[in-house]
């Protein structure tokens, strides 16, 4: 038998590709190439495939449902992310400074493991007009809230998002906190810093790179809140919680492929920019 002789370098390269290719081919077939194809088709009309330049994009931009969904999505992100970041950081710092908190940490993380579909009945019972949250509010002598059919629907979405993501974000913060060397704190203590001063001048600066990463990851996770929204309120919820995700789904179902391809491309462009920030954050961290 003739032995196949490859230089060590070529051998290494062929082994590398053998490890990598099965995955890479799948990624190319199911994600990357289709995305490129949609980029091209966003410049054509879905029927007939004539080149139409940016017409699909103009149509999407001037679509009133798109404007509503976009402004809701932006509003959701602008309201949610700061609340999520501050709240999860506060909990992470508190947990970090206490002993024996494994069980508490797990309790905060648990919603992440809960399938959205299996709490949909709970959500409906909690947020119904005659539901349990309103029962609690009236017992406390407060006005009850029409969660499903008023602007309050937006806040139901915010609560769902916080419930689901608080633990995850908190763990990310705790990893950042754990990476700050102990002796920095000891030095601060020797200098007689108060708790707030220690946070302001030691913890916060050291957490900056982590903060950046967490912000971008939270932004991107914000897209997943659609599940809860859709499960509770269906395809056409109250207009205050009509998100881009609802719109894209509805366009897809109505076979409005002109619009959906242009909208997909625009959304990926936004994600590209966000990732740009994320990479910069990671590079600075080294």
């Amino acid at each position: 038998m003739r032995k196949i002789c490859l230089s060590p370098k070529a051998r290494q390269a062929s082994i590398s590709w053998a490890f990598l290719l099965p995955n890479l081919i799948g990624v190319l077939c199911f994600t990357l190439l289709p995305m490129i194809r949609v980029l091209v088709s966003s410049l054509q009309s879905a029927v007939g495939g004539k080149w139409v330049g940016l017409r699909n994009y103009v149509n999407v931009w001037s679509n009133s449902a798109f404007q509503l969904a976009l402004s809701n999505t932006v509003r959701f992100v602008v309201v949610c992310i700061p609340i999520l970041l501050v709240l999860s950081l506060a909990i992470a710092v508190a947990l970090h400074s206490l002993a024996r908190t494994e069980y508490l940490t797990s309790a905060y993380l648990m919603p992440m493991a809960i399938p959205a579909a299996s709490v949909v009945l709970v959500w409906k019972a909690l947020f119904h007009e005659n539901g349990l949250i309103n029962a609690l509010l009236t017992d406390l002598g407060l006005e009850s809230v029409n969660w499903m059919n008023s602007g309050a629907a937006f806040w139901m979405l915010v609560i769902s998002y916080l419930w689901k993501n608080l633990g995850y974000t908190m763990i990310l913060w705790m990893a950042g906190l754990g990476a700050i060397p102990r002796n920095v704190y000891e030095a601060a203590q020797v200098d007689g810093a108060t708790g707030w001063q220690t946070f302001r001048y030691v913890t916060a600066p050291n957490l900056r790179p982590t903060a950046y990463t967490i912000t971008v990851l939270s932004l991107l996770n914000a897209f997943k809140v659609f599940r809860e929204a859709w499960l509770v309120a269906g395809d056409y919820p109250h207009e205050s919680m009509y998100l881009l995700q609802h719109l894209y789904n509805n366009w897809f179902r109505e076979l409005d492929f002109d619009k959906i391809s242009a909208a997909s491309v625009m959304t990926s462009a936004v994600v590209f920019v966000l990732i740009g920030f994320l990479r910069r954050a990671w590079d600075q961290e080294v």
Partner: protein
Amino acid sequence: MGRVTRTLVYALLVGMAAVICFPVLFAVTGALSSQWELEEKLLPIFTYAEDMADWTLLPLAPTLRSLVEVLLDSPGFFTMFWNSVKISAGILAGQLVVDVPAAWALAKFPVRGKGKLLTLYILLMLMPFQVLMYPQYLVLRDLELLDTLGAVILPGIFSTFPVFLLHRFFQAIPKELLEAARLDGAGEVRIFCQIGIPLGTPGIVAVMILSFLDSWNMIEQPMTFLKSKELWPLSLFLPSIGLEDVGMGFAAALLMLIPALLLFLFCQDDLKQGIALSGGKD
């Protein structure tokens, strides 16, 4: 912190944790209550009456009736549970076979253009499903996979998040160990099997948990790519249960919750480690 503040902070944290865990307890209580008891408590929700719904932390008369009914008397439930299992198992198995070696190559082999490839994987992993929906629909249509479980499983296998996270775990394995093995004449495949996989097991476990939670919870993909109801996973079936079958709804929800919750309770440390790593630096 003084003793008093410490206790206050602790109490506050426990209180918030209780609020966060409440929906889960609610789901369990609901599943162990009878249809009659649920109707009694939640009646104002069905009838839009003036008074408010009511709830107790534990069922007044706990019963396994609804659970038994779902398990024994609804063949539809079994089909969908089984579909969920098939989807999750398919995705996990595929990821083990395809993603683990790819992550190893990205972490340990001198592949040209590795940095760019990693950036690409991160980009793709962060794309929301709504962006991929139409592109994937087109491929699946061309491959005639629409309306088969493959339409959900195949794109799931090639999601890039597992590769990215595994690559981070593998990177932590010291280079010297591999160099020593190479000097002893071990081949690359053997090094991967005898050093990479055993030392990377915590990472592989963390990634598999995250993948399971993700695929078990999948809603958008099956909703978009599966037309026939007999292929639907549980996650699509549960929302269609109305309040008139509330007992069965809670029971089915609990049965869907149990695998995810058990996995979480037994593997929470691996999970925490995996999450911590997903936010760290390269």
